[in-house]
Symmetry: C6
Subunit: 248 residues, 6 copies
C-alpha cells in the first residue's frame, strides 16, 4: 500500500483538466458524487481519470465494476492512455468485478471497503445494485435485509423502498470509511431524470451530468450539485481525447 | 430547554433574508409548509436557516433527518456557517435520525413530538415516510395501522391510500402539538408535480418551491401556497451563500 | 334547524361575488358541481363562501371534511372572515370529519344525509373517498358493497370500477335527498385532467375549474360545465381576499 | 308500439340541425356510431335530439342509461326542451337504467333489444360496460362468459381482451336486430384518444367527436368516420341552445 | 378454384390506383405487409381493393375477419362498389369470421391456410390475435402452445413475449404457404407507434401507413417499409371514393 | 473453414461504404456494437454488408437470426445483391435460426460460439432474447439461471434485472471468444430510447443509430458511441441501394 497523502483544504483533486478550478480545488473530502449520463457520454472515462489522479497522489484506490470484466476495463483504460497494471501490482489500486447473480453483493462491497483503507472509490455503475431484490426478515420490530435465504417478506424488485434501502446501505458504509467516491448512473436517452433509480440524486453530496448534442457534434459537462461548494450551474463544453475528458 | 418566546401577530420568522416580508411577517404559527425542489436546490439549507432562527429566538427545535446521519448533518451545517453544537448541548435543539428499516418509525416521531415542547419542527425529508408499507389489522369496523406484526391485510407499498394514511398521521400529531413545521419533499427532475407522493401538497398549509435554471445559472424560490396569508405567486431570484439562501 | 327558504327560479346562489350572474342566478337546485384545482387555488375557500351564503339564507348546511379536522377548518374559516361557530351552535351548520380508516364511511355519509334535511352539502374533498377499497359480496346475481367484512371478491383498490361504484353511491344519495352539492377534487400539478379519479367529471352536473399562473401572478376561474344552464367557457380573472374569492 | 316508418335512401335522420346534410341524409340505417367527447361537450344532448327525432318519425326508441337515473334524465331533457313523458306513456320510448353492480347486465341489454323492435337505440354511456369484469368458463375448446358464478378463469378487469369481448357482444346484438345506434364514450381531458377503452373506435361504423375551446369560448363537432358515407373531416362550429345542438 | 396466374417479375398488383408504380409493380410475391392506421383511415378498404384485384386476376383469396361478421363485410364492400358474392359462390374467395372466444383460433387459421392454395390473404385485423392468452406446456426443454387446457405455465396476457409467439406463428404459416398477405393493425389516436402490439412492424416485410389531417380535410398514405423494393418515404395524398382509395 | 486474416491496426472493416473512414479503419477488434433503429431503417442490411465483408476477407462468420427463417434470410440477401450460399457451402458462414420457444436458447448460442472460431458474429435481433423469462434456482448464496426446469424463484418476465442477466451472459461469451459483433435492436417508433430493453446501450462498446425522415424522404446514420475510437456525433445522410447502405 502507498503513502496516504494529505490534500490541502480538504479537497480531492478530480483529475479532470479544468474541473478543479470550478470546484474550489476539487471534490470536498468524503463527498459522494453521482456521475450521470446517457450512453457514451464519458462516465467511465471520468472514473479512469479520477483513479489515475489518485494513483499519482499516492492514494489507495478501489474500482468496483458491475458491468465490465476486469481485463476489459484495463484494456479500455490502456487505449485511452491510462495504465493501471503497475498500480494493481503494487496494490495501490484494486479492481473488483461484481457478480450480480450473487445474493450478498452488498456484503462483498461492505467488507472490501471496511477492510481496506481507501481514499478514492469508484462504483461503475450504481444502477444494477439498486435494482437487486431484497430478501427481508420480519424480525419483531424490524424489517431487515436477510443474511440468508430464510425470509418472510420480500420487497418487490422495483419498489422505490428497496432502492432506498440499498442506497442508504452503500452510502452509509462509504461515509463511515470517509471514502471520496464517484458513482456512475445510467440515464436512458430522452429521460430528464438524473439517475435510473430517481432516488440517488437526493441522497448524494454531488451530481455531475455528462451530455451530448449530436446535431452540433458537441459534448457537455454540468455541475448540477456539490454540497459544501459554491459552483456555477452552466454547462461546460468538453472533449474526449487521449488522457480522457478535458474542459474547453 | 430554553424560554418559549411569543412571536408578534402569530407569525414565525422564516430565517430567510427577504422572505418574511413576502409572508406578512413569516409562517403563520402552527402552519405546516412543504419545501419542494429537485436535487441540489437548497431544501436542506432552508431547514438550517429555519432552525437557526428558532435557536436565535430561544425556541425549542426538532430536526428529524431521514437521509443524513446526525454528524454529517452537523458538518454540512458548519460548512455553511450554522453551528448547531451548542444548541444541541443546551438541549434547545434535538436532531433525530430515522432508521427507515424499523417498522414503527411513526411511533418514534409521534412520541418525540408529544413528549417534547417543540416550537419548530423540520422533517427532512418526508418522501421516505410516505413510501413505507403499512401493516393493517382488519378490526371489525376499522382498518387500523398495526402495532405489532400480526396483520390480516396489507395495503400495497405504493398505493395512494397508504400515502394518505401516513400523511394524515404525521400532520395530525404536528397540528395537535401546534408545531410550526417544514417538510421537505423530493421532486424528480423533469416532473411538474409538487411532491414525490402527489398528495402532500393538498394537505399542507403552505408550499414553497425551489428551482434552478442551469442555462442561465440562476436559482428561484416561489411561494406556491400559504393558508392565512396573502402572497405573491411570482418566482423570486435567490442565491446560496454563507449563511444560506437569500432573496435578491 | 332554521327555516327552509325558497329560492327564486330554482337557483341556489353561489356566494361568490360575480359568479351568480354567469350562471343565470346560481347553481340549478339539486345540481352536484365539481370544484377542481391544483393545490392552493382556493377550492376550500369556495366551499366556505357557499356555506356562508346558505347560512345567510337560513338554509341547512352540511360540511363533510375528509382532510382537515373540524377545529382547523373553523380556524381557517375565521382567518378569512367566515364565522361558523354560531351556525354550528344553532345547528344550522353541521361539520363532519371523515375518518378514512373506517371501513364504512359511505354508510356514515349516507345516514347523515338521509337523517338531516340539508339544502347545501359540501364534500371537501372527494378524492380520498374514491380511493377507498371496496369489500364486495358475490351474492348470486349481484356484487354488492359488503356491510361487514365477509367477502368473496375484492375489487382492486385503484380500479376504475371501484371508483365508479363509490361515486354512483354518493351521487345517488345526494340526488335522492335533493341536496345542492359541491365536491372538491385534487388535480396534481401538470395534469390536464379534471379530477384525480378521471371519472367524476362525467357523472356530475357541473364543473368549475380554479387555476393560477405564477409567472403572471394571476388566478382564474372557469365554468367548464353546468347542466341546465347556458354559460360562457372563458376563464375569468379572480382574486382571493378577506371574504374569499371574487371575480374581477 | 308505434308504426315503423321507412326512411328514404336507407338513411336515419340525426335530429341535429345541419348534420344530416353533411352525412348524405343522416346515419346509414343500422350503423353504430360512437359519440366521443370530454366532459360537458354535449354527448347526452345529441342523444336527446336523436331520440326526439325518432319519436317525431314514429320510430321505436330505446335509451339505455348507465349513469343517470331515469327521472333525472327526463328532467334534464325537459330543461332543454325535450319532453319524453308522452312517448314513454305511449310506449314509443323506453328508458332503462343499468345497475352496474349486477353481474349479468349484458343479458339485460341483450334481452331488451331482442324482445323489442327498436329502430333507434342509445347507450349513454358505453364506458362502464367495457370496464366490467368477465367471469369465464374454460370449457374444453371455448372460453365463454359465464352465466353463473362458477368460474375457473377470470380475465383481469382492465385487459384489452375483456373490453373486446364486451364490445363485440353488444355490437353483435345491435347489428343482428338492425338498430341504428349511438354509443357515448368518455374521453378524459387532455387525452387524444377517441374512446376511454381505445378499442370501440375501431369496431364501430361511425365516430362523431364533440370538443370545446375554452379560451375562444367555442364548441366543435367533427365527423371522424362514417362507413358508407363520403364526409368532410373538418371540425364544425356548433352551439348549445334550447332544442339542443345546432351547427353554425 | 380458379386458375393461378403468374405475375410478372414476382410482383403482386396492389389493386390501389397509383400505388403499383411506387412499388416497382406491386408487392413482392410472398411479402407480408402491415396496413397501419388510426380509426376510419381506410384500412379495410385497402383490403377490399387488394382482394378485388386478386379476383380479377383469377387468384385464390382468403379474407380473415376478426371484427366484422361475414354479411356485414359483404354489405360494406357492396356499398363501396366491390361485389364479392360471385367470387364466394365460385369459391375463388373465402371469408372467415374468427370467434375470438375460442381457444384454438390459431389452429383454425393454420389449417385453413394449409389446406387451401391461397395466393392472397388478408387478416383484418391482427390486433385481437396478438392479445390472445397463451396456454403453454412446460415440456422438458420446450415451452409450447398447448393443444388442450392442461397447462403448467401461462404467459401473462399482455406480455411482449406472448405477442411475439403469436406473431411468429402466424407469419411462419403464411411464409411457408407463400401467401402474399395484408395484415391490418389498429393505431390508437395520438400514438406514434406503427402497430398496437409494437412488435409486428419489426417482423413484417412491408408497412403502409394510412393517416388523416382533419383540419386540412386530407388523407395520406405512406410506404414506411417494403423489403425487396426501392421506394419513396414521402406521404402521398389520397382520397376515398367509389372503388376505394386512389392516390392523387 | 477459411483462413483467418489479420486486420491491420486491430480494426475490423465494417463493409459499409464511407463508414470505415469515420471509425479510424472500422470497428475495434472484439467490439460489440448495437445497431439501433425503428422499423425499415436498414438494420438487417447493415448486418448483410458486415457479413459479406467478412466473407471477402476470408473470416469465419456466424449469423444468428431470431425472427427470420434461414431461407427467407438468404432470399432477402439475394435480392439486395448478397449471395451467401457459397459461403454457407464452404462453411465459412453459418446461419442459425433461434427457436424462441425453447427454454435453453442461451445454451444454444453459447455452445455455437464456443465450438466455432468466429471472427464476425451478428445477432439479429437482440430484443427477443432479453425478453425471455429466467428460471432461477435459489442456491444458498447464489441465484443462478436454472439448467433444468426445477426452479424455486422466477424473475418476472419484464424486469430490468432479468434483462441485465441475459445481456451480461451473451456479452460475456462474445468477449471471451473475442468475436467482433453486431447486435440489432428494435426501437418502437416515437421512442427516444436507444434499444427496446433500455439497458444494452450502456453495456455495449458501440452504438450506431439508423433513422429516417419521411417528410424529407431521407435516411440517416449516426455513430452514437464507439469505445476506443474518436468519432463524430453528426448524423450522416445515407441511401439504400443494391449492395446495401452507403454514406452520401
Amino acid at each position: 500500500m502507498g503513502v496516504k497523502l494529505n490534500v490541502e483544504k480538504g479537497r480531492i483533486s478530480t483529475g479532470i483538466n479544468g474541473l478543479d478550478e470550478l470546484l474550489n480545488g476539487g471534490f470536498p473530502k468524503g463527498n459522494i458524487t453521482l456521475i450521470s449520463g446517457t450512453p457514451g457520454t464519458g462516465k467511465t472515462i471520468i472514473c479512469f481519470q479520477y483513479i489515475e489522479e489518485g494513483i499519482k497522489n499516492g492514494e489507495n484506490c478501489l474500482y468496483i465494476s458491475s458491468d465490465q470484466l476486469i481485463n476489459d476495463l484495463i484494456n479500455d483504460a490502456n487505449k485511452l492512455g491510462f495504465s493501471f497494471k503497475s498500480a494493481i501490482d503494487s496494490e495501490q489500486l484494486k479492481i473488483i468485478f461484481l457478480d450480480l447473480g450473487r445474493q450478498n453483493i452488498h456484503k462483498e462491497i461492505e467488507e472490501e471497503i471496511k477492510n481496506g483503507t481507501y481514499d478514492r472509490v469508484v462504483l461503475d455503475s450504481l444502477s444494477p445494485l439498486t435494482e437487486a431484490p431484497i430478501w427481508m426478515v420480519n424480525n419483531g420490530n424490524e424489517v431487515i435485509p436477510s443474511t440468508n435465504s430464510m425470509t418472510t417478506t420480500t420487497l418487490p424488485i422495483e419498489s422505490i423502498q428497496a432502492t432506498r434501502v440499498h442506497l442508504r446501505h452503500i452510502l452509509a458504509i462509504l461515509k463511515e470509511e470517509k471514502c471520496t467516491t464517484l458513482l456512475t448512473t445510467e440515464i436512458p436517452e430522452g429521460s430528464r431524470e438524473l439517475s435510473r433509480d430517481s432516488v440517488s440524486e437526493f441522497l448524494v453530496d454531488g451530481i455531475i451530468i455528462l451530455g451530448l448534442d449530436t446535431t452540433m457534434d458537441r459534448r457537455k459537462l454540468t455541475i448540477r450539485k456539490m454540497r459544501g461548494t459554491k459552483h456555477t450551474l452552466k454547462p461546460m463544453d468538453i472533449m474526449i481525447t487521449q488522457g480522457g475528458i478535458k474542459l474547453l
